[in-house]
């Protein structure tokens, strides 16, 4: 794959850093008053999800990472692997729980998710921004209970726990913002 030098760095560029594909989150050019220019860069490691910072000498270059983000349909899970299908090629990809990470909380069969591929291997999944899940367990919200605005915890069908308003009951479908794990209205 091609190399990118610091003059080509920009947000979203995917490069290999310490063997892992990383995406540039912030690229700051810093030039000390009496010194040469540096690129102070914040990366997101696409495998570990961690943020890292590195400062480069101007002119340094990094290998580009062959990363693609494809829309795929979530098929099913057997508890050990989660299976997705590219609707254009009908190719199937699977990920283990480590690669799935938190996205396991928001999977609904047939939903379209973004699967990130590195060298054609799926490394992570991003669910849609909002998903509709069913409440499987929650306390009944007592009428007249106006103590605080925190609401109450509710367990949803995927196992994830979300704070919901007191009036939400078991069996109801709710919309959840997958980026913040917050209740976003009834469905």
């Amino acid at each position: 794959m091609a190399n990118y030098s610091t003059s080509q760095f920009k947000n979203g560029l995917k490069l290999i850093l310490d063997g892992n594909p990383c995406s540039i989150v912030n690229n700051e050019i810093v030039k000390p008053g009496k010194g040469q220019a540096f690129n102070r860069v914040k990366f997101k490691d696409l495998i570990t999800g961690k943020t890292l910072e590195k400062t480069f000498k101007s002119g340094e270059s990094l290998e580009a990472a062959d990363v693609m983000e494809l829309d795929m349909q979530y098929l099913y899970s057997d508890g050990e692997a989660w299976h997705f299908m590219d609707p254009d090629s009908f190719e199937q990809y699977s990920l283990d729980s480590e690669a799935m990470s938190d996205s396991i909380n928001y999977l609904v069969e047939q939903d379209s998710c973004v699967v990130t591929l590195w060298n054609d291997n799926p490394i992570s999944v991003t669910p849609p921004n909002h998903v509709i899940l069913e409440v499987t367990d929650t306390d009944p919200g007592l009428k007249g209970d106006t103590a605080g605005t925190g609401g109450k915890p509710a367990t949803l069908n995927t196992g994830v726990v979300v704070q919901v308003p007191l009036f939400v009951s078991i069996g109801e479908k709710v919309r959840v913002d997958t980026r913040t794990n917050e209740y976003a209205g009834r469905a």
Binding site: A37, F38, E60
Partner: protein, 293 residues
């Protein structure tokens, strides 16, 4: 295009700066911007042009990258304390915070050491409406607190090992460049939460045109919210040392494959008439303005 509220804010800032200096009896000066020689700074390039081409002249003139040398000529001629607000020009500057042209405030106080000058700058900040908590730490303290490195004693080889361990480049010819990389990587991000921070007593390797006292240069910088705003020195007085410093910078330029520059002999000759002991500072006005709400 800047809107009226920005222009008004800028006008107020310049007015307050002038007022601050006028009350203290400093003279405002305008020194020549088009110079005969370029800056010898290793990493700063002068914008230049051939002038009077109409009459077949091949003379090249250089826009000043700072008014430092011209103002020092005035000091050596007995000007007393002086200040200047002017546009400065630098080639090969890019990024969101670096421009080819910007506004500089530069001033000199006779009889002040760098600590007295830093206090004066704090008063100036107050006069323009910046009044927060001030942090003052030495370069060595910054590195030991934030980087766990004994920066003044560590040698180039050991410093490279530290850089390698951090995954940083070690492709540098001189220790000062690696010191600056580590400062940008380890220290500057920690200064982001400090509204006003002075770093003083730079390593001798980064003395620029400051007087040196043992292992340290009597040089300081001011950071506002982690951004470099000002650079100041207890000014070099000895003409021979000025010559040495210019040579050193020029040689480094050559080693980096850059053009060697003719030295400013007028300046060097003028420095035979020694400037009084003084400290001076250059402050970036555009960046300063960004920090005033």
């Amino acid at each position: 295009m800047r809107d009226k509220s920005y222009l008004r804010k800028r006008h107020q800032l310049i007015k307050k700066i002038r007022n601050f200096f006028d009350l203290q009896g400093l003279l405002e000066v305008q020194t020549a911007t088009l110079l005969d020689t370029p800056t010898t700074d290793v990493y700063i390039d002068s914008v230049s042009s051939i002038i009077n081409n109409d009459i077949n002249s091949t003379v090249v003139r250089y826009l000043h990258t700072s008014p430092e040398l011209e103002m020092k000529k005035l000091l050596s001629n007995g000007s007393g304390d002086i200040y200047q607000i002017c546009q400065v020009f630098r080639d090969n500057e890019y990024g969101d915070n670096n421009f080819n042209e910007f506004t500089m405030l530069e001033y000199y106080r006779i009889g002040y050491d760098i600590h007295a000058l830093m206090d004066d700058i704090i008063n100036l900040l107050s006069a323009i409406g910046i009044d927060p908590k001030v942090t003052k730490i030495s370069y060595a303290e910054a590195f030991s607190n934030y980087g766990n490195i004994d920066i003044l004693s560590i040698d180039f080889g050991d410093l490279k090992d530290i850089a390698l361990g951090l995954g940083l480049s070690t492709d540098f010819l001189w220790i000062e460049d690696l010191q600056m990389l580590l400062f940008a990587h380890l220290i500057e991000p920690k200064l982001k939460n400090l509204p006003v921070c002075f770093i003083y007593d730079y390593p001798e390797s980064q003395s620029a045109l400051a007087r040196v006292d043992g292992p340290v240069a009597l040089r300081f910088e001011m950071y506002l919210g982690g951004i470099e705003i000002a650079n100041g020195y207890d000014e070099l007085q000895d003409a021979d040392i000025y010559y040495e410093r210019f040579l050193r910078e020029n040689n480094k330029r050559v080693e980096l494959g850059k053009k060697a520059h003719t030295l400013d002999n007028t300046f060097l000759t003028q420095m035979q008439k020694t400037i009084p002991q003084c400290s001076g500072v250059a402050i970036g006005i555009d960046r300063l303005l960004q920090h005033i709400s």
